[in-house]
């Protein structure tokens, strides 16, 4: 593997840190492993970043944004039908996670360890899910009242959508082993879900 464009060391480090933190989590990650992954020396990590925690925060922030941005944007677009919105959300979410299969597990487990992270970085990055959730709930209630879909609570529907999109990636190693899926098989399955999940949801709620 020849590096045709030699990246600046700082970026090499960030890339390496991202990989290692994402697959190991903060506690199990080792500076040694990050250095190795970046092809440099342990000491050099500290030249660019004060310490492990600082490094982690930087990585967490960017991954947090990656995970939480996107989704909400779609919902805000106003003049498209509910079913179309759901299709786009599902497609967007599964596409994102196919590109970053460990992202969801990383974010969720780190937040589980210190729930304040969600509030802290939510504020810092101006991501406020509640606004989005309320809008979503309102739209669902309206559709139900108008008799356009079966009765269902917005919260529950939203959890269902997230579950169907996100869980397969969170549990990827479990699913792969249980169902004997190699990397390719897994991605085929995920790709198929872009449509499968949309249809599943729409069938579940349509009248």
């Amino acid at each position: 593997m020849i590096e045709s464009k030699e990246k600046p060391t700082e970026e090499l480090i960030l890339d390496a840190a991202m990989k290692v933190f994402t697959r190991k989590g903060f506690a199990a990650a080792r500076m040694e492993e990050i250095a190795k992954e970046a092809g440099i020396n342990r000491a050099l990590l500290h030249y660019y970043h004060r310490d492990k925690q600082t490094m982690f925060n930087r990585i967490f922030e960017s991954r947090f944004k990656e995970f939480f941005k996107g989704l909400f944007v779609i919902f805000e677009s106003d003049n498209i039908s509910l079913f179309e919105k759901i299709k786009r959300m599902v497609d967007h979410e599964i596409s994102t996670l196919m590109k970053h299969p460990d992202l969801a597990r990383f974010i969720i487990t780190e937040i589980a360890q210190s729930p304040d992270l969600l509030i802290e970085y939510g504020k810092k990055l101006g991501i406020n899910p509640r606004v989005f959730i309320e809008a979503f709930e309102k739209q669902i209630a309206k559709e139900v009242d108008a008799g356009l879909i079966r009765p269902i609570e917005g919260k529950q529907l939203l959890i269902n959508i997230m579950s169907l999109c996100i869980y397969p990636f969170v549990a990827k190693p479990v699913i792969q082993t249980m169902m004997s899926l190699n990397e390719n098989n897994f991605y085929d399955m995920a790709e198929q879900r872009k449509i499968e999940v949309s249809e599943f949801i729409i069938n579940a709620i349509k009248k």
Copy 2:
């Protein structure tokens, strides 16, 4: 808090270890914290269990069983309809996780760190998901062929069922914060899902 029935120390330790390992994972768990949780001294942990790893293995085995047993049993019962089976699976899974909300995240993250755990403990405990999965796929294929349900792949349906049941618990801290749910609210929501999810799935696949 008065301990009316004083448990033997060994059990106190196992209970404490279960709690700490489950919420922190192996890497972030501290022997000190386990000792404190058990109300004893650090050194005493080593009197009952050789070391941290041994202790962890013991805990992991019992939690692994807890997570993977159950589910499969239900499916094997033969003379009930598919919809009834789904209802029972959903109810069983959500009930289990309501009792042990951190269980799924624990098992999944530890397996993600070392996927061999799934194979190793699966063998050790005689849990073989593949048999179950194949039977499930066969039944779905039959129902589809007979025109009793919409066309859907068994694998995808199974993943959907697991996702809808398990994800809310895996992502519990995220969901609680995003949706402003305290413990009670969360449990009400989960309780409601026992029916909500069954209906959702059945509507999604019925003709």
